[in-house]
Symmetry: C2
Subunit: 205 residues, 2 copies
Amino acid sequence: MSLDGFGAGPNQDVENPLGVGGPNLMDWFFHTRIWQEMHGNAAQGEAGVDNEMAAQGFTGIGAWILGRNMFGPVRGPWPDDSWKGWWGEEPPYHTPVFVLTHHARAPLRMKGNTEFRFVTGGLHAALEQARAAAGERDVRIGGGVATIRQYLSAGLIDELHLAVRPVLLGGGEALFAGLDLPALGYECVRHVAGERALHVFLEKR
Amino acid sequence: MSLDGFGAGPNQDVENPLGVGGPNLMDWFFHTRIWQEMHGNAAQGEAGVDNEMAAQGFTGIGAWILGRNMFGPVRGPWPDDSWKGWWGEEPPYHTPVFVLTHHARAPLRMKGNTEFRFVTGGLHAALEQARAAAGERDVRIGGGVATIRQYLSAGLIDELHLAVRPVLLGGGEALFAGLDLPALGYECVRHVAGERALHVFLEKR
């Protein structure tokens, strides 16, 4: 999240998966060893606090949930099966990934055990399916902003890892605007200053 | 500022100068040596990063500007001269303090060289008078939120020190909502993790 409260930039499209200016929000992650390893540069990347915070978000995850716009820039009915996510042939999930959409589509099996499964039944249905797939492991809601806001509003997120970047975006998708998080049961339980972000952990009472 | 973007709590009144929940936003300051010294506890208080950040905000200041609500809970015309600020007989300013108000009032001389001067001519007039009073020294805009937002919108703030507290407020005075800070010329030039807040410095290009 930026200092001015945005979790993604404005005007997402195929050239701007995170919206215009959005990559600056994730710039703490791009320097980490774990991100560099995902991109085949195992020898590179930094092994500090940011890396530790990023790594724990990939530990013990049995299923992911993504919003439609985090999966891709396609809107409305799927014109064909050509869009397979932003992440190439081998996405970084390695679990079932439940994609919220209003438009049915057959599951999509990718390299490295990622399988995109498209859920038209809404956020509760997606969570139920993700829990069943994850078993004893955790379900991670990857985003984007609208999806996180929906799950927060429904009180369905147990823990939220927020990386506050010291940057200004000026516009985009406001993460918390209009949400009364204490009233929804959330409190800040821990914060750690990383190299390029302040990491904050919210938990539901 | 809270994680959810509030610079003060809701429902300010005489019992809640910072709004309900507002003191939590300032809790990084209350532990500093400089704050403790202001309250006669020179031997107490912590001398870490938070203290250093607070102390530099009181260095080289020749005049302050405050909004009406930061000066007090009285609204509308001044019923009498009984309200003399939240800070007792010796306020922590020790300079002329220009208070924005729609209602004229005679200057108020306090102990320790603080003098409250009430400005009815608007934010530009207040800044002009504060600059003249400050001479070579800086003018500090102390707040509250509405006053900071007005000066930011007018592009009249050169540097802004923001202390981001890892807390959720849920409601109150949103500091940056609806302001496009990059379009107004602001950028984040520095950030320092303190003991109880992330300190961020914005500057106008």
